[in-house]
């Protein structure tokens, strides 16, 4: 085709309008044209190619269309009339296949050739399809344009099951729509938390809980292995772990990739996106590009706000008043009705970053603002997003927030309240009948009276009038009242668990049980943790407390465990591991010894040693060899000795009445029985037991956490001994007559310790803290031994499976295998 024949600016050649061809009739392409028209409507003859057979519409509103909240007509941005009024030639439903830069033409699929003076590439992105078997089955759809929505609506009309792969923004909006349309929806997400690029763990957990409450099934940490089909149609999804989920439709929403194919074959500079300068010009000065397809200053964007700024810069440039685009800071909102989520900026936290966290469990609110060098760096809000734009604004402007730092997290209304920006002043201004603690209905007047009455610490207030004793969200208010009433006289209470919380270990344990808190993010939300995801000291503690409180239900969090407990072996100074198999009561036999000898030889272990705990320790095993070593030991009947854990370690025994001329009871046999009963149990700290056959006490039972000293008339049961750093001899707990009683008391004592001690507190310091009488009284209560022992045995049902066997069978291979090996020679070939 030749140059257009409409010489509106007069017939002089050279006065003809420049020909602007736009590839992509989407949000950025049309916006760019609008911006140019607004500046200089006469400048260009505009032709727009669109692969989609329709006018330009608001892509982000496809979610409400899917959800039934909007119709397509309502989301059209530019109607057919708009194109006509502005003399724009719209060639829709015709995809541009080729750009001929030399001839300065574009060639479309229909064969149409269109010359250009300026070309604008605005091809957007393509949905990313994960390369799993079954990806091409009928019923596997993406979520990008109206056709996709139509396919989903079609499927939804028939009801049934929908699986959405991808728990990001798009995936969740698709899931929400399909679920409103009556489908049973499962979301499969690879990462441990939803929307991990926009939300932190705490907000991701709240979101997941809410979606589950609405009936969706959310599988996090789930890796898709295959899409299953039947007669060419999708039938289900198979996960890496073997789970099969039925599906009538599968929506892939795992991400997008800039659509750069055209530009690449045309020889333009392309990295992840089409490379553009600050005026949106590509490596060819006649070709511009805007939208999701571009890469500007190293960034590719997937949201509309940056596109508007790009289009502004582009229009300024082509109309000869260049302004330049400098990149965008973006914010995100999830368009799921009734769920308020906002995130902006950087929340990964780095050196010098400070988190300000506020949680309100009753209202389901979580707010976190990240501050660095007195500037807001990012924000994550859940449940109350009213201040999102304010934080975003502070962030974009880079305002110094030191003056409002204290009140920042309470939002704009509070922080800009002048004198009220000082929380103490704000609290002082409250009237006496203002409610401070919602959970317990305590007014300011009551709290003040209680402080004046002698409660001079947070803990004392909690103990007296109950303010802040429940969820703790008013802790800050109570602290302010303490400061206001007492001036500098505030006493610090008992030590809190860690800097993330105002609660003590005891409080946290009590709340876990009373409030039925079953997951770590739930504890952090309900008890108002002041950090987003805890720290290296509270995470292992919470993991243990949950494991103890909900045996068989709580799923152990490996990330919250120290290396030895994660690897089920003791790390050594050279990075290898030592392996200690259990030898029940210190007994062994030729099969076990042979297996150990074989392992030592087979894996070239540099040393094998008898430990102080009456068993053998094999040293110098590489992490890659551990599963094979364990498999060999398992084959000889041996299981993990837990020499690495906050758990039951060893039960030492002496020879006892079987052989020893002084032995009064079968101490060896009892030791074995005790070890069989107690092995595998996780504890607040390590736990050691010994059984001696007579008061000569060769097994050193009186420096163990639980010690049995056999006497003629029965068994003396001792508790809270400790060798180690600070030696403490045991206290006598009681004397019993039979082995059964000894076993029950042992189980009951362990359970009491498991339920009440603080994490990393051995029995000796625990008993010294609570008092021997407390422990004795507790266990002397009617039926106490039976109840505690029963709880221990119940929990042991779940604990007594050998962690080594699971690993030897292939569980968590990733912990033992290298990710890959690099051979420099192969690299050259690659």
């Amino acid at each position: 085709m030749n140059a257009p024949m409409n010489f509106e600016k007069g017939d002089l050649p050279g006065q003809t309008r420049e020909r602007l061809v736009v590839i992509g009739n989407g949000m950025a392409g049309c916006r760019a044209v609008e911006e140019i028209l607004a500046r200089d409507p006469e400048r260009f003859d505009v032709t727009i190619f669109g692969a989609e057979p329709r006018v330009n519409y608001n892509r982000i509103m496809l979610s409400p269309v899917l959800a039934g909240e909007k119709t397509f007509d309502e989301i059209v941005i530019n109607t057919q009339e708009w194109y006509e009024e502005n003399s724009i030639t719209l060639i829709s439903g015709d995809k541009v296949d080729h750009i001929d830069r030399e001839a300065m033409t574009v060639i479309a699929a229909s064969g149409r050739v269109e010359p250009y003076d300026k070309l604008l590439i605005a091809t957007g992105s393509d949905p990313f399809i994960i390369p799993v078997p079954g990806k091409d089955l009928e019923g596997v759809v993406t979520f990008r344009d109206l056709d996709d929505v139509d396919k989903m609506l079609d499927a939804a009309g028939k009801g049934g099951n929908a699986v959405v792969i991808g728990g990001g923004l798009l995936g969740l909006e698709a899931a929400h729509g399909l679920s409103l349309r009556g489908m049973k929806v499962t979301v499969i997400h690879l990462m441990p938390t939803l929307m991990e690029r926009q939300l932190d763990e705490a907000a991701g957990w709240l979101l997941k809980t809410e979606l589950e409450r609405r009936g969706q099934t959310i599988l996090t940490g789930a890796n898709t292995k295959e899409i299953l089909g039947e007669g060419g149609k999708v039938a289900g999804v198979l996960l890496e772990d073997g789970t099969e989920i039925p599906a009538d439709i599968v929506v892939m929403a795992v991400g997008i990739r800039p659509a750069t194919g055209l530009a690449k074959t045309a020889g333009l500079d392309v990295e992840r996106g089409i490379m553009v300068d600050d005026h949106m010009v590509t490596s060819d000065p006649a070709i511009l590009s805007v939208g999701e397809c571009v890469q500007h200053r190293g960034m590719c964007y997937g949201l509309v706000a940056p596109l508007w700024e790009m289009c502004r810069a582009l229009a300024d440039f082509v109309t000869e008043s260049p302004s330049g685009y400098e990149g965008s800071i973006t914010s995100t909102k999830l368009k799921v009705s009734g769920i308020d989520v906002f995130s902006a900026g950087d929340f990964s936290g780095g050196e010098g970053c400070e988190d300000i966290v506020m949680r309100d469990a009753a209202r389901g609110v979580y707010k976190r603002v990240i501050v660095k060098e007195n500037k807001v760096l990012g924000a994550v809000l859940y449940g109350d997003t009213a201040d999102g734009s304010w934080y975003f604004d502070l962030m974009k402007k880079g305002d110094d927030v030191s003056d409002i730092r204290e009140a920042l997290i309470f939002g704009q209304a509070f922080a800009s309240g002048g004198a009220l920006a000082d929380p103490n002043a704000a609290v002082a201004a409250l009237s006496d009948d203002a409610e401070i603690c919602g959970c317990n209905g305590v007014s300011k007047g009551t709290v003040v009276k209680c402080i004046e009455g002698g409660a001079h610490s947070l803990d004392a207030v909690r103990g007296t009038c109950k303010a802040s004793a429940s969820c703790g969200s008013c802790t800050g208010l109570v602290e302010s009242l303490l400061a206001l009433t007492l001036g500098g006289e505030v006493e610090s209470g008992p030590k809190t668990m860690c800097k993330c919380t105002s609660f003590t270990h005891d409080d946290v344990r009590k709340h876990i049980v009373e409030k039925q808190l079953r997951e770590m993010p739930q504890i952090m939300q309900e008890l108002h943790w002041t950090t987003p995801d805890g720290c290296a000291s509270c995470r292992p503690a919470l993991n243990y407390y949950l494991l103890c409180a909900w045996p068989g239900e709580y799923e152990d969090d490996q990330k919250s465990r120290f290396v030895n407990e994660r690897m089920h072996a003791n790390i050594q100074k050279d990075g290898t591991y030592s392996v200690v198999p259990r030898m029940w009561g210190g007994l062994t036999n030729p099969t076990e010894l042979r297996a150990i000898a074989d392992v030592v030889e087979k894996y070239d272990a540099p040393m094998v040693k008898v430990t102080g705990g009456q068993r053998l320790d094999i040293f110098g095993i590489k992490k890659e060899d551990l599963p094979a070593v364990w498999a060999d030991l398992n084959a000889a009947g041996m299981v993990s000795g837990h020499a690495y854990g906050k758990s039951l370690r060893t039960v030492k025994t002496c020879v006892g009445s079987e052989w020893c001329r002084f032995g009064t009871q079968d101490s060896t046999g009892l030791g074995v029985k005790i070890e069989r009963m107690t092995w595998g149990s996780w504890m607040p700290h390590k736990f050691k037991i010994a059984v001696s056959g007579c008061p000569r006490n060769c097994a050193e039972a009186t420096i163990k956490d639980f010690g049995v000293v056999c006497v003629d008339s029965g068994y003396e049961l001792h508790i809270a001994g400790n060798g180690g750093i600070k030696v403490r001899a045991t206290d006598l707990l009681c004397k019993v007559e039979t082995e059964e009683e000894a076993l029950d008391v042992c189980a009951a004592f362990i359970q009491l310790y498991r339920e009440e001690a603080h994490y990393l507190e051995r029995t000796a310091p625990w008993v010294e803290r609570v008092g021997l009488d407390y422990v004795k009284d507790k266990l002397a209560e009617e039926g106490a031994i039976e109840t505690y022992a029963a709880r221990f045995r119940y929990s042991q049902q779940f604990m007594q499976d050998d962690p080594w066997a699971k690993r030897a069978a292939g569980e968590r291979k990733d912990l033992h295998a290298h990710i890959a090996t690099v051979r420099p020679l192969e690299m050259e070939k690659a």
Binding site: F128, I130, L190, M191, P192, E196, R197, D200, E201, G221, N223, V254, G255, R257, R272, F347, S348, G349, G350, E351, D533, C535, A536, R539, Q558, K559, F562, V563, M567, I571, K573, D574, G575, K623, D814, L815, A817, H818, I819, A820, T821, V822, R823, P824, M827, E828, A830
Partner: protein, 122 residues
């Protein structure tokens, strides 16, 4: 042509909050980290204190605590935090379409040392 970036596989290979190892024949073993906040980093698997395997430490934020004597090492620049002094070389890493790439020259060359350290040494 040899690409500058070495593809070491999908991000799903490393559970968030953990690290995995990448031995380099004739070179230094590399630890590749995936943090709880879904960032990825690569460092030599060698604590600046006494060569502890950093890949086995607890990861919190963008820090790993060495499993041997609890030094805290920044995953961003390999520097020891707090009162401890030392630095472990890092390997430039990028994630693209769900796969992890390491800068080839740094993989073979034993990593890159934090610029501040260079300056201090100069």
């Amino acid at each position: 042509m040899i690409g500058d970036w070495l593809d070491i596989g999908p991000i799903s290979q490393i559970e968030a909050g953990t690290a995995r190892t990448l031995p380099v024949e004739g070179g230094e073993e590399i630890a590749v980290f995936h943090t709880m906040r879904n960032e990825f980093f690569a460092l030599l698997n060698k604590c600046p204190h006494k060569q502890g395997p950093l890949s086995q430490g607890i990861v919190h934020g963008d820090v790993v605590t060495c499993p041997l004597h609890n030094w805290n090492i920044s995953l961003r620049n390999g520097k020891a935090l707090g009162d401890d002094e030392g630095c472990v070389p890092t390997i430039p890493l990028k994630v693209d379409a769900g796969r992890i790439y390491l800068l080839r020259s740094a993989v073979v060359g034993g990593g890159v040392t934090a610029p501040e350290q260079n300056r201090a040494a100069a």
